[in-house]
């Protein structure tokens, strides 16, 4: 009897508090979104599973010597996982369209206003007493607007690790929702005529340009913003491995086994930050809300910047490619293409949108470096 009682006392059912039960449902929801709705499944499936594991009452997987906590310490606290993922992203990125039309870098710059506006909004809401975010927390939340998962996780791990779970979930969820979030904004801020603008075919880009570009990017970062060097350094390294053509076996492994392995453990480790007592707070609601605002403002500013550039430039750009400046590679570029085809079924914008799309990755990393430099 005594033992039966002990067994019962140790069950998850007996130890569960309502918050843990709710988080199990959140975990199942994330898994559902990943599998059925195809919401960024590579990340949301591990994160959702990690969320369930972290909230098993009595298992203590996300604290102390728990395996998820170990993954978190080894991979995220050290910064290693997001940086390795960024190296992999670099090895998967083609800067060709950007090099063929470098001024689209400015679209990637403009879309970063989503980050700063949200940062400002979070502090504003704190001033009004609605939320209670510090400058560091506000900055980490703002970076959601960069629409780059690893950048968000990297910045949150440095500036606001207590919010990392909510920030990562918001970041990947909204990246998956880009096809729903962006089109209405794109239609609202452009005229039908603008959406029909045809862009000139992109020029061919030589192998040498592609090899030199990541080195130039690295040196500019090194000279001007050292705090962005970890992120953009690993990004440029991955890209150089790919473009150089002399280390194909390293590049292949980076794009496959390595990024896959790290993605699994990154997801589980992020899940360890979804423990009920940390996640079920008003702050999380604020993060989800502000993250959505960040995506919307970023999209809008990308569009407006494209329209502004058209005032000064002879070679008109279709403003629809501006929204791709938030990154969310390659989803946002596909959305640009899709909305463009609605306006004119012969207007293929995909290639043109890839320029601002990858520019947005660089832009967000620069914004991240600024935040870390001033607040880190």
């Amino acid at each position: 009897m005594e033992q039966l009682n002990l067994l019962w006392i140790n069950t998850g059912l007996h130890q569960m508090v309502w918050g843990q039960g709710l988080m199990l449902l959140v975990g199942i929801l994330l898994i559902y979104l990943a599998i059925v709705k195809k919401f960024e499944p590579l990340l949301l499936l591990p994160i959702g599973f990690g969320a369930i594991l972290s909230n098993i009452p009595g298992a203590d997987l996300a604290v102390g010597d728990g395996i998820l906590h170990l993954f978190y310490q080894v991979g995220i606290e050290s910064g290693a996982f997001p940086l390795i993922i960024f190296m992999g992203v670099g090895a998967l990125t083609d800067f060709g369209p950007l090099l063929a039309n470098p001024k689209t870098l400015l679209l990637g710059a403009a879309a970063q206003f989503g980050i700063f506006a949200t940062f400002l909004g979070a502090i504003g809401l704190t001033s009004l007493g609605i939320f209670d975010f510090s400058l560091k927390q506000a900055a980490a939340i703002g970076i959601i607007g960069g629409a780059d998962g690893p950048t968000s996780i990297y910045v949150a791990s440095i500036l606001a690790p207590e919010l990392l779970g909510a920030i990562a979930v918001a970041s990947y969820s909204y990246m998956a929702l880009v096809p729903l979030i962006q089109p209405p904004i794109m239609r609202a801020f452009t005229t039908s005529r603008e959406r029909q603008i045809k862009m000139v075919q992109l020029r061919d880009v030589s192998k040498t340009e592609k090899i030199v570009f990541p080195i130039i990017l690295l040196l500019l970062v090194a000279l001007l913003l050292p705090d962005a060097a970890p992120l953009l350094g690993m990004f440029a390294f991955g890209n150089l491995m790919k473009e150089s053509g002399v280390v194909d076996r390293l590049s292949d492994t980076t794009q496959n086994a390595l990024i896959n392995i790290v993605t699994i453990f990154l997801g589980l480790a992020v899940g360890s930050k979804l423990m009920a007592e940390k996640f079920l707070q008003l702050d999380t609601l604020g993060i989800l809300l502000l993250g959505l605002v960040a995506f919307a403002i970023g999209t809008m500013c990308g569009l407006l910047m494209a329209k502004l550039m058209n005032i000064f430039s002879k070679n008109k750009v279709n403003p629809l490619i501006g929204s791709a400046g938030v990154s969310a590679v390659p989803m946002a570029a596909r959305v640009s293409n899709k909305v463009g085809l609605e306006a004119d079924p012969h207007n293929f914008l995909l290639m043109h949108a890839m320029g601002p799309n990858v520019a947005g990755v660089i832009g967000s990393a620069i914004a991240a470096g600024i935040m870390i430099q001033f607040l880190g």
Partner: protein, 76 residues
């Protein structure tokens, strides 16, 4: 103190957004110069295929075809 927080945030926003623009504008200039030099130094540089290609999409398609072929092979 709240107003101090807000002022700090506004300052950081202005400087941050400014820096992002300056940095990426500088990249436009440097990249353009780089491309010009490369094209001058290697006028007949071997170009990669015809026009920039989104590796991802096409690779995935090819991979998919190959995988399906292997699957078919396995079934037989």
């Amino acid at each position: 103190m709240d107003s101090k927080l807000l002022v700090d945030a506004i300052n950081l926003t202005l400087f941050g957004m400014g820096f992002v623009f300056v940095f990426l504008a500088l990249m436009v200039v440097v990249t353009t110069l780089m491309s010009a030099s490369v094209l001058r130094l290697q006028p007949n540089a071997s170009l990669e295929g015809s026009g920039p290609v989104i590796d991802d999409g096409i690779d995935e398609e090819a991979e998919f075809i190959i995988r399906e072929a292997i699957k078919m092979h396995r079934r037989n």
